[in-house]
């Protein structure tokens, strides 16, 4: 496999985007990404789209096709990737493999999700079905917050993690989102705001949960030869990609204090990139719920199992701490347009690694110029970990 670099990134504004349809939203992310790369749509040979809700929470069954036509990409190789909330990372990996294998010189990964065209109970219904419908939703109506609440209960019982610890994750991520103009939720909140918010699925409360967001992100990847030819100033190299999966039935997991898929995917990514967790300058992790960020710290090796709460209490995942995490606001506050998130994570890390591109106040200090994105699909059903290096 040959070396592959990210040469352009772009993102739409996240939030309730009832002003645009799915293709228009894709354009909003795609155009800045090709301008960033200095290419035209005709230079792109392959496009992998991450999107989950086609036909369910938005009307188009084939979002890759409608978005490609709208962005001037018709004719390129095209696929939609589904890995639930990790669909964006699956699309990124697919675009990466297309270039790394030599089949394309330039490829695009496009995350597109439009979630706010339907009402909230219907959204809870669709996302609750994203597990094992027959055995866990049909009779028991397990919602997505409920699945992560099962993890929270077990983690609290085993390690003494508290609701205040969970709240600290939300407070931190809202703080950084307030400095991120694309973020869905830009309000700063306190621990008391989280603790007094309404219960969604105990012990998780409203402010423990990410919002339901619309948003798109676009990443342009190119071979080393193309990077030289295009005279790209600051290519960001794909150093490692790790992948794994977990059982469909939640009842078949070995325990409820972490995600095995996260452990396995991160180990593969570290091995491929030849780096260790202590060499990371910045990370974005899958914080769809506050408990998910604490488990991610442990699963990807930022701390030992059971010590995730200690890391957030000590402020070690803030800028100035041991390893800044989710300084874009995370899924929690930047927003989580499901199939977009993986591409949005790569967008953020690329800008972090280029240093100058990030809004003041949320730039992580760079020492090794190594960054990690951890993207979970479902409740640990899929996991992709991507390591980038400048």
């Amino acid at each position: 496999m040959r070396k592959v670099a990210i040469i352009g990134v772009g993102s739409s504004k996240f939030g309730v985007r009832n002003d645009v349809n799915v293709a228009e939203l894709a354009f909003e992310a795609f155009k800045p990404s090709i301008e960033d790369a200095g290419i035209t749509p005709k230079d792109i040979e392959f496009v992998a789209v991450g999107s989950t809700g086609a036909g369910a929470w938005y009307e188009e069954l084939l979002p890759a096709v409608v978005s490609a036509e709208y962005c001037g990409l018709t004719g390129a190789g095209l696929v939609r990737c589904e890995a639930a909330c990790a669909s964006g990372s699956a699309a990124f990996a697919t675009a990466y493999w297309t270039v790394a294998s030599g089949q394309a010189e330039i490829a695009a990964a496009l995350g597109i999700e439009k979630m706010r065209e339907i009402d909230t109970p219907t959204m809870m219904e669709w996302i609750g079905r994203a597990g094992y419908y027959l055995w866990e939703f049909h009779n028991f109506g397990v919602t997505f917050p409920a699945y992560y609440a099962l993890y929270a209960t077990a983690h609290m019982a085993r390690f003494g993690t508290t609701e205040e610890d969970l709240a600290l994750v939300a407070v931190k991520n809202h703080k950084y989102a307030s400095m991120n103009p694309i973020a869905h939720l830009q309000n700063r909140i306190t621990v008391d705001d989280v603790l007094s918010s309404m219960i969604i699925a105990a012990p998780l409360k409203l402010f423990d949960c990410c919002p339901v967001s619309d948003g798109a992100a676009s990443i342009i990847l190119a071979s080393e030869e193309k990077v030289k030819e295009l005279k790209i100033d600051t290519p960001v190299w794909v150093a490692g990609i790790g992948f794994a999966s977990g059982t469909a039935n939640m009842s078949k997991r070995l325990d409820y204090v972490g995600l095995e898929a996260s452990v396995s995917a991160s180990q593969k990514a570290y091995k491929m990139a030849k780096v260790t967790p202590d060499q990371l300058d910045v990370a974005v992790v899958h914080d769809c719920f506050t408990i998910a960020e604490i488990m991610a710290y442990e699963d990807i090796g930022l701390c030992k199992k059971g010590e995730g709460a200690k890391l957030i209490r000590e402020g070690q995942t803030e800028i100035g701490g041991k390893i800044p995490v989710n300084v874009d606001g995370g899924l929690k506050a930047k927003g989580h347009p499901i199939g977009t998130t993986g591409c949005s994570m790569v967008n953020e890390l690329t800008k972090q690694l280029r240093e100058e591109a990030v809004e003041k106040g949320r730039q992580a200090p760079m020492k090794n110029y190594v960054a990690l994105a951890h993207n979970v699909g479902g409740t640990g059903h899929y996991c992709y970990v991507t390591i980038l290096r400048r």
């Binding site: 028991f140 109506g141 077990a154 019982a157 699925a201 939640m250």
Partner: protein, 143 residues
């Protein structure tokens, strides 16, 4: 939904017919108060939820076994914000319990005050017919 100009998509109603031929004894068993799992005759692995094909050795030779009813609760949640098709239900508690056969079961937990529910406590797994006539199973208070 939309505060911005929009048009309504065409309405569709979706109901799927989910095949249960290969696990029919399970659904019939619930009506008789039994909770059945499958056991692979080749490698001996027990499956709950029941399956017709073994993911461990890929044999398709299963026998039906009745599960014990004593579970240890490993985790739980109380679902307050409910999906569309559960709007008519009161908030419900979902738990995962481990049985002595080594399999885990996810089901509703009933018959306890929420403040009484603890990780590690015992519960009884019982088959049940819902008021709408659907066979299901729940964890409840041991006798």
């Amino acid at each position: 939904m939309a505060s911005m100009p929009s048009i309504k998509s065409r309405e569709v109603k979706i109901v799927q017919d989910i095949p249960i031929s290969k696990t029919l004894p399970f659904w019939e068993g619930l009506k008789q108060g039994k909770i059945l799992a499958t056991k692979c005759r080749k490698c001996g692995k027990i499956f709950f939820p029941p399956v017709a094909d073994c993911s461990q050795c890929l044999a398709s030779d299963m026998e039906w076994v009745e599960l014990s009813d004593e579970a240890i609760i490993e985790t739980f949640t109380h679902v307050v914000v409910r999906p569309t098709t559960f709007q008519h239900e009161k908030p419900y508690t979902v738990a995962i319990g481990k049985l002595k056969e080594g399999v885990r079961v996810l089901a509703w937990l009933t018959g306890f005050k929420l403040s009484e529910v603890k990780v590690g406590m015992k519960a009884k797994l019982v088959a049940k017919i819902t008021p709408e006539g659907n066979p299901t199973y729940v964890f409840t208070r041991p006798e």
